[in-house]
Symmetry: C2
Subunit: 195 residues, 2 copies
DNA sequence: TGGTGATAATGAAGCCATTCACTATGAATG
DNA sequence: CATTCATAGTGAATGGCTTCATTATCACCA
């Protein structure tokens, strides 16, 4: 029912095979009549489906961008002997002081169990230590060690510079709009969570 | 140096402790002077840092939104005995016919090794089979079985409806702009990959 | 006071995805 | 041809994250 009864095709290979096998290179980009970018591959995947796919295209683009940004930041953090998650914990402790693990889980996009694991590694590396919470003996606070403080102080500025490079060419309004739309998605997603 | 020498705090708990421990609930949202959403928690994390953090805020919002959307889609796919990745492979095979694994890796946001794993599981579940590529004996094509075709036909419409709910309240222009900004990020990220 | 239910952190098990190494095949060059 | 190099797929090892179950503590109330 789709134009694909031919098995000795030629079109698949000609488009993708010749490209360098790099990250995200499978998506050839073009601009629509209003000058906005779109993925030709994704659009032709949905054509003659007779459904409006602007939502799917937008969400798909966000997924791809988020994925690539995640990999890049992961790669960058790795240069400093860290991961995204551990870097986040470090920065948060640097800004907020000793913090119960549960609060870290609530404030970062994470689960309590995950925070335990991150703090495990940070503690093993001597960047963080666990201290008892005097006001609640169930709770345990993560505290930056001197080494941890030195580490985060040494790298956090470079980290935000790295993010600046990612948004090169974006106007302040672009950034505000991107932030707004993403947070609107967060609101919608929360509603979805309530079934 | 930060206002956090008090260890028997009260403010941390009052804000986060009382909230229901749900996904993404650690981010209280508000609107700026132009009516756009922002995360108060994130903004106060960066205040008195004397750096323009609009880029970090935007990227952070995208990270959170992407993460939540991913979890929601994962949860939805799970209802049909699938995962995001397997669903993606199924849909692609449904639209494009038999496809070499490497091409799947290039066109989806994935690595060759990952596609092997996804196809392993799909084959185990009887939804996909591996067929040799007549034109290249190194290559192996993934092919939808009848069960696989039935499965994807049964769920794909509901899948896009699910995505429509996510963008409730978004204008077509909002969606186009979100798509555009994300793809611009992809372009920037690609440049970053070339060191 | 003693019991009931929520909460904090963690152990155990599992999934997804990544990297590196390896095999088999194809393509290109002498 | 034979050598060489690139490519397709996969095994092995690793890491991050999630869910479920468990232990210890707290908070509330009869």
């Amino acid at each position: 029912m789709k134009p694909f009864t031919m098995n000795d095709d030629t079109m698949n290979r000609s488009t993708t095979h010749s490209l360098p096998r790099e990250l995200g290179s499978g998506h050839e980009l073009a601009r629509d009549e209003s000058g906005r970018l779109y993925s030709v591959h994704m659009r032709e995947l949905f054509e003659d489906l007779h459904v409006d796919m602007s939502a799917v295209e937008a969400l798909g683009a966000m997924k791809i961008a988020g994925h690539m940004l995640g990999l890049l930041q992961e790669r960058w953090a790795e240069k400093h002997g860290l991961t995204q998650g551990r870097l986040g914990v470090l920065f948060r402790l640097y800004r907020c002081g000793d913090t119960p693990l549960g609060d870290l889980a609530a404030n970062m996009e994470s689960t309590p169990r995950n925070i335990t694991g991150l703090v495990d590694h940070l503690e093993r590396d001597g960047l963080v230590e666990r201290v008892p919470d005097p006001s609640d003996r169930r709770s345990i606070r993560a505290r930056l060690t001197e080494a941890g403080r030195a580490r985060i102080q040494a790298v956090w500025k470079e980290g935000v510079d790295h993010q600046f490079e990612m948004v090169e060419g974006f106007s302040k309004d672009d950034l505000a709009q991107l932030r707004h739309l993403c947070l609107q998605l967060v609101i919608n997603a929360r509603k979805e969570l309530g079934k």
